[in-house]
Amino acid sequence: MESGLIYLGLAYAVIFLGLVGYVWSIASRQRKIETAISDLQRASGDNSSD
């Protein structure tokens, strides 16, 4: 019974961490892309004003 509790806790912890990790990875990729987009837009704005 006691070991069952350990495996139950482990299962829920792994699922929680896995889902949080996946969401974090998407958010991180989204941030990088948005930064790259705004950099490109700023650069093209600078070029057009030149």
Binding site: M1, S3, G4, L8, G18, I33, I37
Partner: protein, 228 residues
């Protein structure tokens, strides 16, 4: 305006998923009775079965998106299939890991080469392969190859589902929906499992929307780079 509406929908859905998930966890740990034979570890069931079913749903979306992409060539369908494959792999990972942690105290081993387990691993590897094809090359040819994998790979889904009836193994037969004998679970367990299936469905929709948004941003960046 459209972008703001999409962010707002994602935010609202996140709150809904968070609230319903907390309620579901309260049900799992405070309301559902402990199963007599397996004890507390049986509570893994309430995330294991919904994640397996959501994997089927995700791969069905991949199938639909892949067929539509091959027929129309529209990048929207390709993005839908690609995003759903990624989310499907996450849910299949949850199914495999939760199953292994459930099997250890009940069967005495993390893994046995049972037909259901083996076919689920094959399904997982097929869609990991799909994602590898997408990662290696972003050309339209890789999109078409991935679409063919997405369609052909779906043949394993019914094999996984019916494997417990077609071949003998360690994995129990279908207990939630058994057409010949009806539900095999006490009402509280069945209600909680179906509730968690609803929560996982909302979670799937949320992750799919977030992943599609990322794909659209990636496309926007590629267009900007091409125009620069």
């Amino acid at each position: 305006m459209k972008k703001e509406a999409s962010i707002s929908a994602i935010r609202n859905l996140s709150v809904l998923v968070g609230a319903t998930m907390l309620l579901g966890l309260a049900g799992i740990f405070l309301w559902v009775p402990t199963e007599d034979f397996q004890g507390v570890v049986q509570r893994i069931f309430y995330v294991h079965v919904p994640s397996a079913w959501i994997s089927y749903l995700a791969y069905t979306v991949v199938l639909i998106g892949s067929i539509a992409y091959l027929r129309t060539g529209s990048q929207r369908w390709d993005l839908l299939a690609h995003s759903s494959a990624e989310v499907g792999v996450v849910f299949t990972s949850i199914t495999l890991v939760s199953g292994m942690l459930w099997a250890r105290p009940v069967w005495g081993a993390y893994w046995v080469w049972d037909p259901r387990l083996t076919l689920t691993l094959v399904l997982f590897l097929i869609y990991v392969g799909y994602l590898v094809v997408r990662t290696v090359s972003e050309s339209s040819r890789s999109g078409r190859i991935a679409a063919v994998i997405g369609i052909a790979g779906y043949a394993v889904v019914p094999l996984v589902h019916f494997s417990v009836e077609w071949w003998r193994g360690h994995h129990p037969a279908r207990t939630v929906v058994n057409p010949s004998e009806g539900p095999q679970l006490p009402p509280e367990m069945l209600a909680t499992m179906l509730y968690m299936l609803g929560v996982f469905t909302l979670l799937f929709v949320l992750l799919l929307l977030v992943r599609i948004r990322l794909g659209r941003s990636q496309d926007a960046l590629e267009r900007l780079k091409a125009g620069a």
